[in-house]
């Protein structure tokens, strides 16, 4: 088992969540979890293909960050993008239909699992190559600053969140973008989902300094380390970073210590991670933990949580049905979308 870092402590009690807010977060995490479980099922039943990377275990990050953002803010993801898309508001129907390769998918069946896009929901993608989404996210952030400061649009205070993994932080684009973001004080959150592994490469074997949040310091940028299994801790860090970004005070690097409960993709035999490591992290399941918190704090009762789970269950079933019933893309449109349409 790879050595574990001590998760930073967070006083959940200080989080001040309302019951309504708590349920919103809970629902989003359940949505993410159930959606992914259904993907696994559908993949094994031959309904979806290619590389499918599930998000199980990391829900607190997507929910914690994206649910702290506004709907006109931007989200930029990787190949592990289903749940970021859902948190960003892309309907489960469109994400599922995309996975089924249907015309009703958010990328019209052209993209697939690793290429979820939604202009309507300011989801910039779905990037299958490591790191390549970070510059794109930077561009969205630059755009907001440009509108505000070059075009004088005071309302242009949108923030962008770029999500990526620990392995990606050894790639040049990560550093190049930290520099430019800090240099130009761009409204962006670099959210590292450090799940300790990049496919079969343990983080410690890939980097000379495993504490990623510290790298921010040499770019003059705040870097924070967060318990990525605690949705409230993530949310608190995100809120702070978002208000700083919105106020024109620049970027933040947030390192969320988390874990994926499944293999890298549904094709990964997942033989290198130890049972002990998996169990340690499984015990920190962000959903179970938040459930306990909601109950303890009397923000919800078992009944309410159950009804959320049932509703999401139904929603996912409906998404599968929607995807199955949806038409495939029209072969005559093979060349559509190569260029802009007049």
């Amino acid at each position: 088992m790879v050595q574990d870092r001590t998760l930073p402590a967070f006083q959940s009690a200080t989080a001040q969540v309302s019951s309504e807010e708590g349920l919103r977060l809970y629902e989003d995490m359940i949505l993410g979890r159930y959606f992914e479980d259904k993907c696994a099922e559908m993949y094994y039943r031959g309904k979806m293909f290619g590389f499918v990377h599930l998000y199980n275990g990391q829900e607190a990050v997507s929910t914690g960050v994206i649910k702290a953002m506004r709907s006109d803010d931007y989200v930029c993801s990787t190949y592990r993008d289903h749940v970021h898309a859902l948190s960003a508001g892309v309907p489960a129907n469109s994400v599922m239909a995309e996975l089924f390769g249907k015309e009703t998918g958010c990328s019209k069946g052209r993209g697939g699992s690793m290429h979820m896009f939604s202009k309507e929901h300011n989801l910039l993608g779905g990037f299958a190559f490591i790191g390549e989404g970070i510059p794109v996210a930077l561009g969205a952030a630059f755009q907001a600053r440009y509108r505000r400061d070059a075009l004088g649009d005071a309302a242009a205070d949108q923030v962008t969140a770029a999500f990526f993994g620990d392995g990606t932080t050894n790639n040049g684009q990560f550093f190049e973008c930290l520099n430019m973001a800090a240099l130009w004080k761009l409204p962006i959150l670099f959210v590292v989902e450090n799940n300790k592994w990049a496919i079969g490469m343990a983080h410690e074997r890939a980097t000379s300094q495993p504490e990623i949040y510290r790298k921010a310091s040499v770019f003059g940028m705040p870097g924070v380390e967060v318990d990525g299994m605690d949705v409230l801790a993530v949310r608190a860090a995100a809120q702070e970073a978002i208000s700083r970004a919105r106020a024109g005070e620049g970027p933040t690097l947030i390192e969320c210590l988390t874990y994926r409960f499944r293999g890298h993709s549904l094709a990964d035999p997942d033989e290198l991670r130890s049972q002990a490591e998996k169990e340690t992290w499984q015990a920190r399941d962000p959903i179970g933990r938040f459930e306990a918190y909601l109950l303890e704090q009397n923000l919800a009762d078992e009944e309410t949580l159950k009804s959320v789970r049932q509703r999401i269950d139904g929603l996912i079933e409906a998404a599968v049905k929607f995807a199955e019933d949806s038409p495939e893309p029209d072969p005559s449109e093979l060349y559509r979308y190569i260029f802009a349409e007049r």
Partner: protein
Amino acid sequence: MAETLLFNALRQAIDEEMSRDGTVYVLGEDVGQYGGSYKVTKGLYEKYGELRVLDTPIAENSFTGMAVGSAMTGLKPIVEGMNMGFLLLAFNQIANNAGMLRYTSGGNFEIPMVIRGPGGVGRQLGAEHSQRLEAYFQAVPGLKIVACSTPYNAKGLLKSAIRDRNPVLFFEHVLLYNLKEDLPEDEYLLPLNQAEVVRRGEDVTILTYSRMRHHVMQAVKSLEKKGFDPEVIDLISLKPIDYDTLGESIRKTHRVIIVEECMKTGGIAAEIIASINDRFFDELDAPVLRLSSQDIPTPYNGRLESLTIVQPKQIEAAVEQMVALRV
């Protein structure tokens, strides 16, 4: 308008488009305070400020990706490659994101951006600064590729490229920046997808682009004196190729010579020959001839360098042989 140098024609194009549309901005190395390595953006930093003429760190892949992200969200970036060769570092962003993202996103996003700068073989700049990336990028789907060759077309094409809602790779030539030409007083735009018939003729169709147009025209001067009558077409758009204009010419001359500055293997001429073969095989009286650069990195030594690229004399000889000998 008085005689305008090519680099100033480009600057005018950018300036006009920037003042017309607030979302147009320039980014790249030394485009701002320095005014651009070849002075294409000179004065624009002072006029439009540091966000609209953005000096970037030396991080080609990331600032190109940043341009893509800003284009996806409504801006119209013009990326200057200080030398287009440096964009080898940005190949991933150009191919995957500028080129393919619109399609892969199922039409969610448009990427209205221009990537421009000097390419080609200069005067003993050495291998790395003498690249002809049009050949490397031509297979990338979703990109338009344009090469300008005169102050007039440089200005009109660049303006159209900036207004185009797709990613356009726009090649200038390091040795053409100081060409001079009278430009129209009034605003004008030139279509990105139309080849330019530089000279009408009957004997043979010469297809070329960028600096080689001028080598061709030099050869044509001598050829005219000897009584030859070649048709010269500047391709302008290297992707897609304007086969309407080419076809019209080929149906008239039945002979084609392509003069390109990129290397022969996998070059622009290769694709054109293959397409001519697809479309106009029966029109040809002789195999299409390609005159290309040698398949080597450009050597520094001047004599070797001039042997590497096509010279006017070779073009002359090729036309003479093809036309006079009726091969």
